[in-house]
Point group: C2
Chain length 133, copies 2
DNA sequence: TATTGTTATACTCTATAACTATA
DNA sequence: TATAGTTATAGAGTATAACAATA
């Protein structure tokens, strides 16, 4: 009997995290923080809420993540010029450098993780997941 | 830019759980309990530790799960005849009936979840995940 | 000494409710 | 009245440490 899809998603994620976690460690961030940095690198500046929505996480969760990234001097909050309820969150110079290096590290970890798949199966897997999410 | 693999696994799992959760609700179990029941339906009887290892969860986690399933009269513990440190955990009649109905419900939920994938992409996805886990 | 099950405990991740300041 | 950010808090889910019973 094939294993359940729920089991497969969960443990695929866990096994991938076993590679990406150590890969990110030199840069002082974890996988979730890497995700936030990636989202904040969007061409247009994002508010905390917009960043949270793109990652489908709660805005209260985002507060703590931005707090941590700000303490590490990787992002900066500044008030939105037209709506002072909002914070614009932008990468610092150090944040951009960290994101660049971390992206290469995660790319490598994903490649290693997917290396067992023959031919174009890795690409097809990513395409299928993209449709499902 | 394609979304990150970690994001895709996480949210694919979350979206699937939005279907399997309600599908299992009539049977009074959640997805994790369904996983335990499925494992315990193995041809040979399993101890708590063996069941935990097959699901890659901690044995202390398994204690609480078996407690809950036993309260629902879906499984029974009995001492292993040759090694009294071990508990053999077996499905009750009601556990077998519940597993059968729940399996059909989860099959339906998975099918609905995968319905957006054309051709044999669903099969290929499952095969790829099986290799990765 | 090592293993299985158990309990107590703590940690991570996440969400809900209520507050503030702005709109 | 509604929205964005914040804080306090609580709930899952999980793992670690320590113990009893057994090997």
């Amino acid at each position: 009997m094939s294993r359940r899809l729920g089991y497969l998603f969960k443990h695929a994620g866990l096994r991938l995290a076993e590679l990406t976690g150590p890969a990110l460690e030199p840069y002082g961030i974890d996988g979730r923080e890497f995700g936030v940095l990636s989202v904040l690198a969007a061409p247009e500046p994002l508010s905390q809420l917009e960043a949270a929505q793109r990652l489908r996480i709660d805005r209260t969760t985002m507060v703590a993540m931005i707090d941590a990234l700000e303490r590490k001097d990787l992002v900066e909050r500044r008030p939105h010029p037209d709506d002072r309820r909002k914070n614009i969150v932008e990468l610092t110079g150090r944040g951009r450098d960290t994101l660049g290096a971390a992206t290469r590290a995660v790319d490598g970890a994903e490649e290693a993780f997917l290396a067992v798949l023959p031919g174009d199966d890795a690409e097809r897997l990513r395409d299928a997941l993209d449709r499902l999410v």
